[in-house]
């Protein structure tokens, strides 16, 4: 998927409420990037948080050794709820990608210098039978739009790293990923 000679450097912030799977979506991305032979860092915001508090991670993917694992201006962001939209819609670099869970975020971005993808992710996830798949729906949209990591690499990451207790949801996760990817097509 990669044009020869093009540098790979993506900084992705995934943000939502605790329990929405922002951290796990970032880990899937990190596993997939590692399997592609890329350098990758995954770093969560951490601290005295509780379920329903804010949960956020930053994933940096690069074809060279990664310096800073944190960025102020990401090249892409997934915002799963309204506070995340407010925090990261203005932060995405010009030319970057913003994936919005439009089921929970009613507002539209006013920026014309980024590619905004509205995905009714929570609704899609509910239709699939589990609202908690919204993270994977959004990840599918991002992966498709980003074009740096193939969707199949995320599927392999799901095969290998979906926690045992969620194993029965493997098929649904993959379906959620593909449904999301449809929204990421240009």
């Amino acid at each position: 998927m990669q044009e020869a000679g093009r540098r790979i450097q993506e900084e992705i912030i995934i943000s939502g409420f605790g329990g929405q799977g922002a951290l796990f979506a970032g880990q899937l991305l990190a596993y997939a990037a590692m399997d592609q032979g890329l350098h990758v860092t995954w770093i969560p915001s951490y601290g005295p948080e509780m379920r329903g508090g804010k949960a956020r991670c930053t994933v940096v993917i690069s074809d060279e050794e990664i310096g800073s694992p944190l960025v102020r201006r990401p090249s892409a962001a997934i915002v799963l709820n309204i506070p995340s939209m407010e925090a990261f819609e203005p932060a995405v670099k010009p030319g970057g990608i913003l994936v919005v869970n439009s089921s929970l975020v009613p507002q539209k971005s006013e920026r014309d210098d980024i590619h905004v993808i509205y995905v009714p992710a929570s609704d899609i996830a509910s239709d699939l039978g589990n609202v908690r798949l919204a993270n994977v729906v959004c990840l599918g949209a991002l992966i498709q739009a980003l074009g740096v990591i193939p969707l199949e690499a995320i599927e392999r990451a799901l095969d290998d790293h979906l926690p045992e207790r969620h194993r029965k949801l493997l098929g649904l996760n993959k379906e959620a990923l593909r449904k999301g990817a449809e929204y990421g097509e240009h």
Binding site: I43, S68, P69
Partner: protein
């Protein structure tokens, strides 16, 4: 072995297991509790000792005791917990038993917060406890280095019968990166304990391990021996990494998390036409003073960046000895300086010198 995605804290614990740690004593504290979590699962599985003590004071004294008995032993904590261990650390230093200590530093002073910080540089490097001693202090900047330096810490601690500290922060502790674990070393069997260890004096003269030496000349002799050892360590064990220093006329000096942030700064500054290099100390003690002095002859100015109010910069200034200007930029309280705030500091330095 293939790379796996490791969280820093878990990686530190697993690396110690691979290095043959026999016993861990500690007390949980954020942001390093995952170190204990990993040990608490793995060590009993392997028939080794995991003990959650009632406090940090108890932990370090259990570590002291086990080390005297010749066991490969360690503890781990975060800033306030390390403060509680300082009396024990001083006793261990005087007793000359090998111990590995991890400090996943957090924002201070006081109870502070749990965010990433380098506020304990002075504590680790200058005053890990009362009296004259320095632990060897290793500062990883990524998960692979955290693994490698934990293993190295055991080797150095045993080679010199000293304390080896690995200092990092919550960013390295909590982050995940692809990294490779070393192969599992066998645990040292009891009959291979060092000959100075307290193993029961059957068939031999008793060994004495103490940190109490009454009489001034007596204790001065011990101090002279400790100082001679520190000199040997300083001569043999200085470690650092350099990035783009070959043709640099400006130098960044930074360690740990902000050290790797400065790798990004070097790339961006080079794109903007500045000839910037980075020296990242790996051992904070012994400090790479000699190499910094050499580079100070080559560059127009030095910018030291830290996650504190300016601690390592004192050692940088001692090394530079006025050869060129040394400036400082730092953030405190758990804030990580990012490239977009370090670059303007470099530009200022570029104009000034």
């Amino acid at each position: 072995m293939a790379k796996e995605l490791w969280e820093g804290n878990a990686a530190i614990a697993e690396a110690a297991i691979r290095a043959g740690v026999e016993a861990f004593f500690g007390y949980p504290i954020t942001p390093q509790t995952e170190v204990l979590e990993h040990f608490s699962k793995r060590l009993p599985e392997l028939g080794r000792v995991f003990l959650q003590a009632e406090s940090e004071v108890a932990s370090i004294n259990m570590v002291y005791g086990a080390a005297c008995a010749g066991a490969r032993v360690m503890t781990s904590s975060s800033s306030p917990g390390i403060s509680l261990m300082q009396e024990g650390l001083s006793y261990i230093a005087c007793s000359e038993v090998p111990v590995v200590v991890i400090n996943i530093m957090r924002g201070g002073p006081g109870l502070g917060n749990v965010q990433p910080s380098q506020g304990d540089y002075f504590q680790a490097v200058k005053m890990a406890g009362h009296g004259d001693f320095h632990p060897i202090v290793l500062a990883p900047a990524n998960v692979q280095e955290a693994i490698d330096y934990v293993v190295l810490a055991f080797d150095l601690a045993e080679k010199y019968r000293t304390i080896a500290m690995v200092v990092a922060d919550g960013a390295i502790g909590q982050m995940m990166e692809p990294a490779e674990m070393p192969p599992m070393r066998p645990v040292r069997p009891p009959e291979e304990r060092p000959d100075w260890a307290l193993t029961g004096a059957q068939g031999r003269e008793p060994n004495i391990i103490t940190s109490l030496y009454l009489g001034a000349e007596n204790l001065e002799r011990v101090n002279l021996r400790l100082q001679a050892k520190l000199k040997e360590i300083a001569a043999n064990e200085v470690r650092w990494k350099e990035y783009s220093t070959e043709d640099a006329d400006l130098l960044l000096v930074a360690f740990g998390t902000v050290g790797r942030v400065c790798q990004t700064v070097v790339r961006e500054a080079r794109k903007a036409g500045m000839k910037v290099g980075l020296l990242r100390p790996v051992t904070l003690w012994p400090f790479p003073s000699g190499r910094i002095a050499e580079l100070a002859e080559q560059v127009r100015g030095v910018l030291t960046v830290e996650m504190n109010a300016g601690q390592m910069v004192e050692d940088v200034r001692l090394a530079v000895e006025g050869r060129c200007p040394v400036r400082f930029y730092g953030r405190m309280g758990g804030v990580i300086p990012l490239p977009d705030e370090i670059l303007p500091e470099l530009e200022k330095l570029d104009k000034e010198c």
